[in-house]
């Protein structure tokens, strides 16, 4: 059951973004920024966690889930460290995603060569 929920919620988010891609002149880079910011805002309002409770990976795997993680990290750090937490929480919470992408990306640049699109 949770697989089905993950599938259709995740799929729906993507399908809606597809409309955005085609109906506006927004480039993919801008869309990614928009999604992460939207996730952080929805997270701060407590809405995104409810979506994750319902759809699991269907909500956490899309990029708004990343924004949600960033905000939750800041929130947690604020509770622990007060004002300083504003500057600490984001990277702490997003570290697994950001570091793994950078590390694997770097390793890929050593292993793989650029290829012709075909």
């Amino acid at each position: 059951m949770e697989y089905i929920q993950a599938f259709w919620v995740g799929g729906l988010i993507c399908a809606l973004v597809q409309i955005l891609l085609e109906k506006t002149k927004l480039m993919p880079g801008r869309i990614m920024v928009l999604l992460v910011c939207a996730g952080a805002v929805l997270g701060s309002l407590g809405i995104y966690d409810r979506l994750i409770d319902f759809a699991g990976a269907g909500a956490s795997v899309p990029l708004p889930g990343f924004g949600n993680i960033l905000f939750k990290g800041v929130k947690k750090a604020v509770l622990e460290h007060g004002f300083l937490g504003i500057f600490m929480g984001g990277f702490t919470a997003g570290s697994a995603g950001i570091s793994s992408a950078l590390i694997f990306g770097y390793l890929a640049s050593i292993i793989f060569k650029p290829k012709m699109k075909n």
Binding site: E2, A6, F7, W8, G10, G11, L12, C14, A15, V17, Q18, I19, L20, L21, E22, P28, I31, M32, V33, V36, C37, A40, G43, S44, A55, A57, S60, V61, P62, L63, F66, G67, F71, V74, K75, A77, V78, L79, G85, I86, G90, F91, G94, A96, G97, I98, S100, A101, F104, G105, Y106, L107, A108, S109, I110, I111, F112, K113, P114, K117
Partner: protein
């Protein structure tokens, strides 16, 4: 003033005309492919998540393992030239999941290796992902600032 308004109207007229003349992908079809590919990636994520939970990991650790695994998979598929092929069909379905983020990191890293470690890979690895990280941190810190005050005043 009058001149520039006329100019604007002319541009608008040509834009509209070009829009009519330009064929576009069928939106319904592309939405379907986005739905399918995005849904499948999320389902795969759910599978990894459940597996990690099954090993007795807590929710957050399992979530991190899921992200790391999907990112690794996406980077491999990027290096093997498979991810761009999937994306040609999948569109937003391959862009929106965390795998799309990983693809945007790995693709420039691979492409710009010829331009050196620092100014090639080092700088260009952030060309697409950099803005995502910057604005993600900016907005979450800003929201955190609001939260800080709300919390201080006992409102949150």
């Amino acid at each position: 003033m009058e001149q520039s308004r006329k100019e604007q109207e002319k541009i608008k007229k040509y834009e509209d005309y070009v829009k009519r003349k330009t064929p576009v992908h069928s939106l319904a079809k592309n939405m379907w492919w986005a739905f399918l590919s995005g849904g499948l990636i999320c389902t795969l994520g759910q599978g990894i998540l459940n597996f990690c939970r099954g090993l007795g990991l807590d929710k957050e650790t399992a979530g991190s393992w899921t992200s790391v695994s999907l990112i690794l998979l996406s980077v491999l598929l990027t290096g093997l030239n498979v991810y761009p092929k999937l994306a040609r069909r999948g569109g937003a379905g391959t862009l929106v999941p965390i795998t799309g983020f990983a693809n945007s990191v790995a693709a420039p890293a691979i492409e710009y290796q010829k331009e050196g470690q620092v100014f090639g890979i080092g700088c260009k690895i952030f060309t697409i992902a950099g803005p995502v990280i910057l604005y993600g941190i900016l907005i979450s810190s800003f929201l955190g600032l609001i939260y800080y005050f709300l919390h201080m005043w006992g409102l949150a």
